[in-house]
Symmetry: C2
Subunit: 316 residues, 2 copies
């Protein structure tokens, strides 16, 4: 029994042929041509599915399901992409379209949610029934699993933890509100903080690295901090506080089995995870009296999307 | 078929004999004698249950369940009160104790969660599967229902939405963290804001009411605002922003069917609800493109606890 997992992103559409145990048997990617119409992109997705089956060497009737993760507002029940801000998708009936070609269950979900499902079934969240996957990237994405199920909210519009208010009347966010968590805890925010500090402390190692490399990245402050630079350490500490503060809010609400951190910043590994975990444990409600929530790196990373998408169709 | 609903509070323990449709057939309250040991309080609860059965005029074998709502950390699965800060309860096996006397299902839950269940089954939340009950009182309590079930979190320690961070590095909270929502949106906070403004504007109607009555309450600013006082209106507006801001975070995460507001402040009725609803609708993620979450007064108020407690045992 095989399943297809499709992960639609702004840059590429990744696909994989997966078995029940989450083992990838064949994979293929195509470029997301965002200038195309929604009909053309749907056709690209269909062609990718067909090629995964044929190139993967299975018969089409061995296919037990197709799961698709898509960025934006997804009505999973109706099988409709309500809105996706990076791709030309508005009220697109993707499930109905694919049903014309494929005679198997087809399910869709928001990409951040689907990745959380992937981590729960096959990644760092294995064995957990309640978990939160936080992806620190351009923004802050959250995928929340409650009792083994994705937290969807009405019309699948929930799960936007990155847009909790962290700083009342703080920095304006693209969502129209001020002070959203993602304005402080995203990789974008880390780069902004790094820039501020490097301007303020031009003799610091952070400033020197930036000058030498000609650019700032989410890694700059961490490299400096690991080398013993005080400014680098200050930036990391400030950033950790922002990340942890939002996680504390989520822990107080959900008290999950574990928190998983994904996105480029999570490559800082246990150096970062331990700092976050200590702060979350200290300041979450009930302090040491309550269950200490482990903070772990999301291990599937780029494969979380395709595996989670496939998992939408796998019952086990 | 009858059920007992027991609502344990810091001041009184309320009890009711309830049928499957949530109709209260008999009720009785006793004082919570907080100076007593946990064994003595357990005995008071047992005696209250027995008297509800006998005075309610039913046979004990017509009793199909006893549900109990208790403030604090509750391990519903094990039937244990882990910790309750107002009453001498620490690791109290209340279910095991009552099982010696009553041969029927006995279930316990945190009081705020149980009240949310009551509102969902018999109050303003009827027909909703996903709702959030926010009680604006001394603190801010949240009871969250996801897919018709109370959101518990590991060992029942979740659901503490009042301790989300709203103001990063803000006012210190009793929980040990800074800037918790409840420091800005509770009735206590409203009184504090009213006091600040009345000191700043001694000629305002707000200041006059306080002088005349010799005290400040959660109603003061609303009375003045309804009478056209600018200072009163400013206080209400500031308070509404704080209440709404935390609700927006919760809406972005959960996108519930509705939000219910309980506690003394909710008696300001639709005057308050409409102001909150407008702000939540405007600033929650996706703005007008998303489902607009209605904000309603929790109608059961003091009965939400006993009805929700009974509902822990009622399957329908």
């Amino acid at each position: 029994m095989y399943y297809l997992g499709i992960d639609v992103g702004g840059m590429s559409i990744k696909g994989a042929l997966v078995d029940k145990e989450g083992v990838i048997h064949y994979r293929a990617n195509i470029k997301t041509e965002v200038e195309k119409t929604s009909e053309e992109i749907l056709q690209d997705i269909k062609d990718l599915c067909l090629s995964l089956v044929s190139e993967g060497g299975i018969k089409i009737n061995a296919l037990r399901g197709i799961g698709i993760g898509i960025p934006g507002s997804i009505d999973a029940e109706e099988g409709v992409i309500v809105y996706s801000n990076n791709i030309n998708f508005e009220n697109v009936k993707i499930v109905e379209y694919l049903k014309k070609t494929f005679d198997c269950p087809i399910k869709i979900g928001n990409d951040a949610n689907v990745a959380a499902l992937g981590e729960m079934k096959y990644g760092s969240g294995k064995g957990s029934k309640n978990l939160i996957l936080v992806t620190l990237g351009t923004g802050v994405g959250t995928g929340i699993i409650v009792e083994s199920k994705i937290l969807l909210g009405k019309y699948g519009a929930g799960g936007e933890g990155g847009h909790m208010t962290l700083v009342y009347n703080g920095l304006p966010c693209t969502c129209g509100k001020k002070g959203c968590w993602e304005r402080y805890a995203s990789a974008t925010a880390l780069i902004r903080i790094t820039e501020e500090y490097s301007n303020k402390y031009p003799d610091s190692e952070v400033a020197k690295i930036i000058k030498k490399e000609g650019k700032i990245s989410g890694k700059t402050a961490f490299i400096a901090a690991r080398n013993g630079d005080k400014t680098g350490a200050k930036i990391v500490s400030k950033y950790v506080k922002y990340v942890a503060e939002g996680l504390i809010s989520l822990v107080n609400i959900f008290r999950p089995d574990c928190i998983l951190i994904g996105g480029g910043v999570s490559n800082e590994g246990s150096y970062l995870m331990k700092k976050i975990e200590r702060r979350v444990s200290r300041y979450s409600y009930g302090g040491s009296r309550n269950y200490k929530v482990p903070v772990k790196k999301a291990e599937l990373q780029n494969d979380a999307g395709i595996l989670g998408a496939a998992a939408l169709c796998i019952d086990n």
